[in-house]
Amino acid sequence: MAAVSELIAVDIEGYLKQHEAKSLLRFITCGSVDDGKSTLIGRLLHESKSLFDDQIATLEGESRKFGTQGEELDFALLVDGLAAEREQGITIDVAYRFFTTDKRKFIVADTPGHEQYTRNMITGASTADVAVILIDARKGLLTQTYRHSYLVSLVGIRKIVLAINKMDLVDWSQQRFEQIERDYREFAPRIGLEDITAIPLSALRGDNVIEPSARTPWYTGPTMMRFLETVELDETRRERGPLRFPVQWVNRPNLDFRGFSGTIASGVVRPGDRVRAQPSGRESTVRRIVTEDGDLPIAVAGQSVTLTLADEIDTSRGDMLSSTESPAEVADQFEATIVWMSDEPLLPERSYLLKLGPAVTNAVVTEIKYKVNVNTLDHLAAKTFELNEIGVCNLALDRAVPFDPYQTNAATGGFILIDRMTNQTVGAGMLHFALRRAHNVHLQHVDIDKAGRSGQKGQKPVVLWFTGLSGAGKSTIANLVEKKLYEMGRHSYLLDGDNMRHGLNRDLGFTEGDRVENIRRVAEVAKLMVDAGLIVLTAFISPFVSERAMARRSLAEGEFIEIFVDTPLNVAEQRDVKGLYKKARAGELDNFTGIDSPYEPPENPELTINTVDCSAAQAADRVIDHLRSHGLIK
């Protein structure tokens, strides 16, 4: 609730007007465990009279029960919301708090300090204007301080408050304060942070939180609250940019109205403005800015509106309406920074979903350039990103999208990556620039196409994708099927470990990342052969659902036939034709599927063959029957 202002008592409507005109400041607090973040926020809430009597009464009760401050109020308990953390005495997730003073309304993201929860900090920072970085005056700068500073700078925050807390425990030492400030100012410019305000605090005792403290006569800067109330907001920066209007929803109540609903990401729009629909490039003129409160003469960045255009342009969700004078770039390959947020590491060449504004595309990391050691800012070679790692890589999307570099516009340059199988948000990213080859590589138009080539052979090209454990019988069955096809005069080709691993994929090993790349190349080769009009048989373990799904997506509907050669592990191990299981069990082979690397069985294969119940020849007949019954061969 708001601070109790004089105006409330005497002129409530006047107060409402004043409150309505208030600006909004969003900030985050970050620091290490026990730096006193929760205590600082609790005190800001308390001192701004944002707490009610019953909340304070609850706090008094809980302070006695769980508190660490003896008889005094433990403000940390106010903000440590979840039962689990109350037991552990730590904050484990990002929480949002609200308080209002006579000058401003504030939204605070309280973010945890533990290393494993960095993703929550990035989340809190992504919407903040200012970062409050807490330092324990006794400890000075810690690894986490560098990490958090780097993260907030990465997300584009430029205004930093260095809250040097627990000054009471260093006897209010000016020397200690200045030394920490000096250390920080030495480090900060390396990550682009220059707007820094250091404040000596005791959040616990309330010194320099609201009122200047008598215990720091040597400090003449602002208190925490004064700084927050007066720090300049750069609200107009986004408005000054060129128009970016990502289309979120096509508004079609009836045949006479076709509008585009969205939130203006930057710039200003007025009726009569020329706009370009991207990526199509078609141009038109804004006719109306429609809202339920009536048409607007102007709308600015941050507003959610509906635009109608003078011409019928085929535009849908994920497209962007941009200023014709300085439109967004359109590209399908980028360099970007990625913050990895999943326990499962990022795998290059695995297909993820990328969400950039309302646009969703498939994306693969084509090259990892380096990861960043957040303590030293050194660039390290990397093949993958693990949880909480940050690095720079190249990305390829399956279609071109309009964008701006993140540094220019966070709303059109920030994206998330989603795992296709778990649906979790696994990464956050910031686009740097389009890779030049995206502009320069165009598909060469050819006159003879797939239909022509397959027609010449009198067949329908497909991929018969055999998947299953090592020793399941994939190659044996595929070989028999190909012999039958050959006898029928069909044109085919069998891809297996022998002809792929020894040639094209000679550079790949058996780590998870290499296996993903192996299958990606197999899928690409299979796709070329289908384009050549062939019936392709592939016999690879291909253990991961997502890579088989990728292969399926790269082909036309009906061209991918997944055949699950279903042999239980103990049966395959018993057969052990190549003696590989024995070696794997002896620890001589790493990453062996079924032993120390997972096999993810298909969910909906076109055909499942249980090799315990039938011979290889019977299995091959079943495959041929399937092709025949689906009209793929005669």
């Binding site: 919301g81 979840l82 800067g221 007066t230 300049e232």
Partner: protein
């Protein structure tokens, strides 16, 4: 840089914020909140198959409904409203509900837990916990399953209660409607990941960043009609354990010697009438209510009986599927 120099640097940045040189309209915090809520609703409409908006006839619900009408204008919101009824709401709330379809053109679905109905669950004989759990928590799950809704808008705000402060705007529920606070998806910028497996659903909270004052301010600014129960009037009440309970109909059992008295009261939150405490008040206009709210030193949930159960009661309820 020493402390004095820091102070100078800060003073330098303290330019007037009015931005007189700048002709563009400046958005107020309320306009920003409105735009954010609209963005969230459109995102759900674009990405989810069968959304629904929970409708409780309270003031937050009224604001959320108003925002929905704005978000899709000139189209109607592409989802129905759903009231999970307990049969024990205030009569004035049912009146609000029943005139909503005519006023908004939106469909209002009503679900009452048939088991609770058959067993006659009520707060007097079964207690507030069983009553709330059976009618509301179980009832909501039944309704979501019955209509196969995959996203449900709720009017909860992060400033209401501690465990709410940590909930995401898009909050995922397993096929069993359970919430796992340790496994929430990170929400960055205004990018929401609405992908889910079959059977899973999302609770979406478009008012997450609004405070109680923001809600009142918006009702005032937009002239939104809210249930008359929020305004002071003479109402029949009895006092129990220091809480004023309105005798809204003759189902309320009176203790021996207990006689309802007419007192000028209003309600800060609305729910089932036997579980909702009234406060004595003279505030019979919106500005007076806001005035009183701003001066009040007791938080609004204090009127709700369920919050007193245990410190972590709301979190426990939410894990079990309560909204």
């Amino acid at each position: 840089m020493n402390a004095g120099a820091v102070a100078d640097a800060v003073t330098e940045t303290l330019r007037p914020m009015a931005g007189a040189t700048h002709a563009l309209p400046q958005l107020t915090h309320l306009q920003r909140l409105e735009a954010e809520s609209i963005h969230i609703m459109r995102e759900v409409a674009a990405e989810c198959e069968r959304p629904v908006m929970l409708f409780s006839m309270g003031k937050d619900s009224a604001v959320m409904l108003r925002l929905a009408l704005k978000a899709f204008y000139p189209s109607k919101p592409p989802f129905p409203l759903l009231h999970v009824d307990t049969t024990w709401k205030f009569r004035a709330m049912y009146e609000v509900r029943d005139r909503t379809p005519a006023e908004t053109g939106m469909e209002v679905l009503i679900h009452r837990n048939p088991d609770a109905l058959a067993q006659g669950i009520n707060p007097f004989t079964h207690g507030s916990q069983v009553h709330t759990d059976t009618w509301k928590t179980v009832g909501l799950k039944q309704a979501l399953d019955k209509y196969r809704f995959d996203a449900a808008f709720g009017g909860a705000r992060r400033d209401e209660e501690k465990s709410r402060a940590k909930e995401r705007i898009f909050s995922f529920r397993s096929a069993q409607h359970q919430w796992d606070p340790k496994n929430q998806r990170p929400e960055l910028w205004n990018l929401y990941n609405s992908r889910k497996h079959k059977g899973e659903s999302i609770r979406v909270f478009p008012l997450s960043n609004w405070t109680e004052l923001d809600i009142w301010q918006y009702i005032y600014k937009e002239n939104i009609s809210i249930a008359p129960l929020y305004f002071a009037a003479e109402r029949p009440v009895v006092e129990r354990d220091g809480v004023l309970i309105m005798v809204d109909d003759d189902r309320m059992p009176l203790n021996p010697g207990e006689v309802p008295q007419m007192r000028k009261v209003r309600f800060r939150t609305l729910g089932c009438y036997p579980l909702t405490g009234a406060i004595e008040s003279d505030a019979d206009t919106l500005p007076k209510v806001i005035h009183e709210t701003l001066l009040a030193r007791t938080s609004e949930r204090n009127g709700r009986v369920i919050d007193h159960d245990a410190a972590a009661s709301m979190e426990k309820k939410k894990r079990e599927g309560y909204f």
